[in-house]
Symmetry: C3
Subunit: 337 residues, 3 copies
Amino acid sequence: MVDKNFYNVKENVTLAQVAEVTGAVLTDSSKADEIINDIATMASATGDELCFFYDRKNKAKAGEIKAKACVTTEDLKQFVAPEVIILTCDDPKVAFVKLNEFMYAEKVAENGIDVSAKIATSAKIGKDCFIGANVVIDENVVIGDNCRIEANVVIAHDCKIGNNCRIGNGASIAYSIIGNNCYIYTGARIGQDGFGFQLINGQHHRIPQIGRVIIGNDVEIGANSCIDRGALDDTVIGDGSRIDNLVQIAHNDKLGRGCVVVAQVGIAGSCTLGDYVVLGGQVGLADHLNIGSGVQIAAQSGVMRDIEPGNVMMGSPCVPFKDFMRQVAFLQKNSKK
Amino acid sequence: MVDKNFYNVKENVTLAQVAEVTGAVLTDSSKADEIINDIATMASATGDELCFFYDRKNKAKAGEIKAKACVTTEDLKQFVAPEVIILTCDDPKVAFVKLNEFMYAEKVAENGIDVSAKIATSAKIGKDCFIGANVVIDENVVIGDNCRIEANVVIAHDCKIGNNCRIGNGASIAYSIIGNNCYIYTGARIGQDGFGFQLINGQHHRIPQIGRVIIGNDVEIGANSCIDRGALDDTVIGDGSRIDNLVQIAHNDKLGRGCVVVAQVGIAGSCTLGDYVVLGGQVGLADHLNIGSGVQIAAQSGVMRDIEPGNVMMGSPCVPFKDFMRQVAFLQKNSKK
Amino acid sequence: MVDKNFYNVKENVTLAQVAEVTGAVLTDSSKADEIINDIATMASATGDELCFFYDRKNKAKAGEIKAKACVTTEDLKQFVAPEVIILTCDDPKVAFVKLNEFMYAEKVAENGIDVSAKIATSAKIGKDCFIGANVVIDENVVIGDNCRIEANVVIAHDCKIGNNCRIGNGASIAYSIIGNNCYIYTGARIGQDGFGFQLINGQHHRIPQIGRVIIGNDVEIGANSCIDRGALDDTVIGDGSRIDNLVQIAHNDKLGRGCVVVAQVGIAGSCTLGDYVVLGGQVGLADHLNIGSGVQIAAQSGVMRDIEPGNVMMGSPCVPFKDFMRQVAFLQKNSKK
């Protein structure tokens, strides 16, 4: 049950509305005026709640659904408990997203600039922005329209941020050009010097880092993740890429469009990733690698060589997924006795 | 030697007091009025300092102790250098904690609310709290008695925090209900959106996250760790659990009581951990796993399947500890020409 | 091309100046008055830009250089495209650092103390410091000359920071003594309680942590990295050590001089590292280990035993590098078919 203290909830939603919003078909049209008041999980939904069922692995549990209604597929509806009102569609996960967006909304503070924010006179702030307490916006920064810059964010000189962006509280932005519709989470560190130094007379001497971070449109950067700016080139995150929490992206890395980088991944410097690359949690990439489009790398893998497009890899050092499974089986079988 | 600039130190503690505070027995009662002025390690304690000796592995070093007094066990006291005054007890580690708490205390700022804190008029702050500089407390937040909310903390609307809690500087709290006696360390991020999205027309579309984070009593969350709020369900951390620094806990995870999660662990979404589960440093868990009570997973292990209660596991993918050791031995033996 | 919005760039640099600054020799002295306006990579440099070529692996690409001038070695200059003006020196990487420092500089805010900074009256701030917005400096803190303390930094009571230090925005410093010329990056957490507790009556009871963090001269600590203070002893980071982002260093760890700790490394408590130890990304060390000087540990390795000086190790648990490569080859060969 969604906590109405935290979220604005649209109540008394009819199943006709559910059908309209999600594109699902109500199998018994006489139920069009039945109302639901919440979305819940298959296991917990009761009373006037609706749930979604889309994973065949849960078919046994579908028989125990106690929700008033369930959105599922034509194929899976046979497994749902008979008392439950059924709506069907091709992709209940998409329906879930749509209904979720229709019924719930975060409570957001009103637009405006907090009196404690410190904004350089040369900075430009777009229309309808929220600038929270203690925000620092330095010289020549440009921020687009409809942005939410939360409390204690620091945006260093000359950064540019597009429209409809949200910067979570306590985040740091420097030497960065950020597109539209981006969400940088709390505590993310974007644009600091990369980890580069040169041994001169037995001392590590810092190599000045004089590049930038270029972030496309529709990008998310997770909480406490770090993206170092380029050393000479730029660090680039392509449109639509999603980066989870506590990820490290080093100087000069270039990620293509729609990449998915799960929590605690570390990408060493000067790597190039194609489009729609997926890196599982805690994956590590050595430096200067080329990872082709569509490559998927399983969690905890270590990558030491270039990978051609479309491969699925696992292990440290990683090998094709099937080879890894064979290695595991071989080792388990032969080490026994 | 404890730095008295940083800590308040009780000086001139007699061995009679040590015995009283720790429950240890002074083997030579004529020494009851001898005083100590500090606790130090076995290797470094000298002069009027006291040390603790509880690990049999250090028995050779016990002969070199230069402390005035040593708390140890009946069993181990034979190894201590003869000049040292001995106190014995069943568990010197517990005695250490007790004497430590008796002799040392952090210097804490006086209670009160800093003038720069921004506290919504609808928020409720308990008695005897410290609210530091630049703290932001949003609408309807409730904070209990005796809490320390350090500088630059941001607590979003409608969160509830129990009594005797400490929130380290720069931490972010949102969509959370937190119990009593909790310590959230500096820079921790609690309650941000989980990493959930759905491919719609070739674009990653964010799935609204409408759950909460529920934290029990006596919980610690380490520095810069991240706990995402639930997607629909809640993310839950059970009473007495201890989470180290830089840990990632994803949406809908549920940890039981007394779990210990060492630094840099990553737990993917919708995992359920029983009570007193121990995860070593850098362990990774795949999503939707059930980990039974009392399970211990060695550092750097990767968990891809459910684990029954009480098992000790190691490796990536993890196997029972003995199997892992056999695999390591097999590989080392057979790979050498 | 370096973005002049972000950096101050010295223009119209003659090759005579390049030779003077870097110590390189201009092979055709008639070109001494030719000017360059930027440094760029081998692949991207064109027009009036200069590049550096020092890696023999790139010799094929050297033939395609379109820069006006290139700094390389006597040995490698034969591979450079004939139109390019050549300067030679023993170590072009060092030359790069020197020219980079000569031509580019970060734009820094003017010295001074922001009105919103909260500085205890007992704190001492040296000459020519920058203290940013919302900084909190507690009782008895001492900060040297020429320091940059960026916005939202919190420095707890009694800490000491040397000369020429930079503390990135949003960082937390407590119970710490920091030398000269240190750079603590944004969001780093230094000096919080270590992860120590004792089971007393079935409950995890926190062990008070009463040590400090001692950081030498010329140290860098990366963004969002965590260094816990000592439990009883101190945690120590030796002169010239470089710690990358998202690294965890636990209580009582002692790092020697010039250590290099790459991103997401985790070092458990009470480890001792010699001088010039290199830990690759995501390496994990168990507690109470001794790692000799000059040891190099490859990325993602797990260390469970002491390592003698000078060894190169890999794997989890790690073994000598050659043994690891043999294990990988053995497994790949024998698991097939």
